[in-house]
Amino acid sequence: MDTAKKTSELLKRDGSPGFYRRRRMEPYWLIAPGMLVLLLVSAYPVLYGVFISLTDLNLLSGAKATPHLVGLANYARLLTNPAVLGSIGTTFVFAASTVLCTLLFGFAVALLLNSSLPGINIFRTLNLLPIIITPVVVGITWRFLYNTDFGVIPYYLRLLGLPDIHWLEDPKWALIAVIIVDVWQWTPFATLILLAALQSLPDEPYEAASIDGASAMGKFRYLTLPAMGPSFLIVLLMRTTDAFKAFDTIFVLTEGGPGRATEVLNLYAYRFGFRWGDMGQGAAVAVLVGLIILVLSVVYLRVLPRQQGS
């Protein structure tokens, strides 16, 4: 049945303006249940969190157990708290380092695994192991691996004649130690996405380039990299979001120490809310982290595709 015939049949059935309005509304009705669930499980907690961030709710204070609106006072207190300000800087250093390293290592591993060597599937499966392990277990395991007294890493470094590094005790190394763990755990995620993208690239452009005498590096530079752009963007977006949300591994590894060398913003959301009972400030930290992620996501989505196009 061709389109004209279908349209004429539909018009015969109901040609009133209300019919077209109803048809326009149909998709909205169809997605309504899904949107309702999304609003309940996602939007409501976010909005409630924003509301709490504007109140003085404190679980350990009888007087403040019922929230009272205090405007932006919680944000003002956060942004004048030197410890919180310091943690914003640490969060950015942590996020930028882990995202960049994950992307680079993930792509390198994806290129290695994008071959048809016998047994490559075993390596592709093994590659996923770090993602499967829960972050707390990762944290505890690495805490033992790094331990200066009985850890495996310092032991082998000493065997190699390298100087003792106090991974979790030296403020200069602690953040690097935490970044290494995060990169170790999440590089396979980047690999997974980038490997899938590599395997979906069409052969024809490569064949054409070979006929034209393009070198391997040339094909990589002018064919592979541009074609991988959308996948890089996905990894970048998802890893940035994850990196700013990082909490559990860092908490188990260092609890933000030594001093405040590895204190990321989320540690403050946890401390204010769950340790100190100050839900107002805890929610304000969470909203702040959410805003940072939102701004960065918008930048990625708007700026990067434009640059890619140019």
């Binding site: 350990l60 204070s61 200066t148 007294d149 260092t254 120490g257 030594p258 001093g259 405040r260």
Partner: protein, 487 residues
């Protein structure tokens, strides 16, 4: 064929979609209307109570059918849920007697084990949200001020004085060392029963001090001299590992280990008006001393380490001195994990030469009842059994020795405890405590976290000790002001 399929997609799908909530609503209405019918007076109450015991057990008695049984087992079928701290010595040993208690009372006790951090957080969330999941929670005395301020704990005085609910002889409150009751008393009301207390103490390797002919250090200066001599001796373990003089807790979460050093040098955390007092000279000297002990004489992991690192070092024999709590000796004496069983002893925490009295911080693991418990009388029954002298005596009779701290007077006289080298030191430490060494105010957790972060920053050379305490005081100040302690 295609047309038919499309019409189903549009209209019937929408109709079906509308039918789903309608059916759900109908179902909910039917359930709601049918519920009151279930517990009809003629039916056994068990049908309306999901918490009914297993079919093999006797059915729950009703007031009309079996009044005699009901009065002897008034809590039959009730469920009490406890939140317990992982690895707390003595808890599992008490729970081993639970079947006898359950058989006697008909109360079913269930529990969740969790580490101390999540225990606090889960309890706080349960209390504040009024979910009433936990009837009884293991609480630290350090959390007591916040929990009672939030009105989350049930005062126990009325239950204690109710002869119908409490067997005073079995509970035997008079036998509990008064300090252990005092630390969980807020506003004149008791909010918890002690499981065991922690008083700061010196833990030392007897064999190493004997081998090097060293006396037990009594002052901070002597402690440093002994540490220096152990370091100079360059001792090795049987496995060839280096033996360090100390293992100490430098992690930010362990500010309470520094408190007896501050107190032992004449310092304090807050002054009498609750203003930060860490910038005073004694507190500064204390931080300088503690940081020096860690950097110069302790296992490398002490810098950012805590309990796990100290446990590993003591059990592996790579340290000779520790400043921690008395019950730590439970872990050095763990035959399954420790290579140094029988080599450790306890002595008084050093001071700068002043008497120990008032220099020791004391905290307590206690058991409290949630104010949101739906079965408070049954919860009290469990709590009073769990904290009773009768149960404690049973454990002692079975040979369970709780080393490092004494909670009841009767314990200190028990065979296997009386005359032990650690008993005397533990009793002295308990008598020397200042329960307000860390002020018992709702903000104490926040204050100790701040002080701990700067303590660790000084140990790791991120800040000088003077800077560390100045910054800590600056961060504490608005919190204390905001709480209304001063303007």
């Amino acid at each position: 064929m295609n047309t038919t399929a499309r019409s189903i997609n549009r209209k019937q799908f929408l109709k079906g979609l509308a039918a789903v909530p309608a059916v759900a609503l109908l179902d909910a209405c039917v359930s709601a209307t049918s519920q009151p019918v279930t517990p009809a007076p003629t039916q056994a109450p068990a049908t309306s109570q999901p918490a009914t015991p297993a079919p093999t057990q006797a059915p729950a008695p009703t007031a009309t059918s079996a009044p005699a049984v009901a009065s002897s087992r008034p809590f039959e079928g009730m469920k009490i849920h406890m939140a317990l701290g992982d690895g707390t010595p003595g808890v599992q040993e008490k729970l081993n007697h639970l079947p006898e208690f359950e058989a006697e009372t008909g109360i079913k006790v269930t529990f969740d084990w969790m580490p101390a951090g999540p225990l606090y957080e889960k309890s706080l969330l349960d209390f504040s949200q009024g979910t009433g999941i936990y009837d009884i929670v293991q609480t630290s005395s350090g959390w007591g001020a916040g929990f009672t301020n939030g009105k989350y704990l049930e005062p126990l005085d009325d239950y204690i004085s109710d002869p119908e609910l409490t067997n005073a002889q079995e509970l035997d409150i008079e036998d509990i060392l008064s300090l252990n009751l005092d630390v969980m008393t807020f506003g004149g009301k008791r909010y918890g029963f002690p499981h065991f207390g922690h008083a700061n103490i010196l833990i030392y390797r007897m064999d190493i001090l004997d081998q090097l002919k060293l006396d037990i250090p009594k002052t901070f200066d002597q402690f440093e001299q002994v540490a220096q001599m152990i370091t100079d001796a360059k001792l090795k373990t049987a496995d060839g590992e280096q033996v360090y003089a100390c293992a100490l807790a430098g992690n930010a979460s362990y500010f309470d280990r520094l408190v007896p050093v501050i107190k032992g040098m004449g310092g304090r955390m807050l002054d009498e008006n609750k203003r930060p007092a860490l910038t005073e000279k004694p507190a500064l000297d204390a931080l300088e001393w503690y940081a020096r002990m860690i950097k110069k004489y302790s296992t490398p992991s002490s810098v950012n380490g805590g309990f796990i690192e100290m446990e590993q070092a003591s059990q592996g024999g790579t340290c000779a001195l520790m400043l921690d709590y008395g019950p730590f000796i439970e872990f050095t004496e763990d035959k399954k994990a420790s290579k140094t069983v029988g080599l450790w002893a306890l002595a008084d925490h050093p001071t700068d030469g002043r008497p120990l009295k008032g220099c020791v911080y004391y905290s307590l693991w206690a058991f409290s009842m949630s104010a949101g418990s739906k079965n408070k009388k049954a919860a009290w029954k469990v709590l009073s059994w769990f904290s009773s002298r009768k149960l404690n005596d049973q454990l002692l009779a079975e040979g369970y020795l709780f080393r490092g701290m004494v909670t009841r007077k009767s314990e200190s006289e028990a065979p296997g405890i009386k005359g032990q080298p650690w008993t005397e030191a533990a009793m002295r430490a308990t008598q020397a405590t200042d329960v307000e060494a860390i002020p018992r105010i709702p903000e104490s957790k926040q204050l100790t976290d701040i002080a701990g972060a700067h303590m660790n920053a000084a140990i790791t050379d991120l800040e000088t000790p003077a800077d560390a305490w100045q910054k800590a005081s600056a961060e504490m100040d608005p919190i204390l002001k905001d709480a209304g302690y001063y303007q």
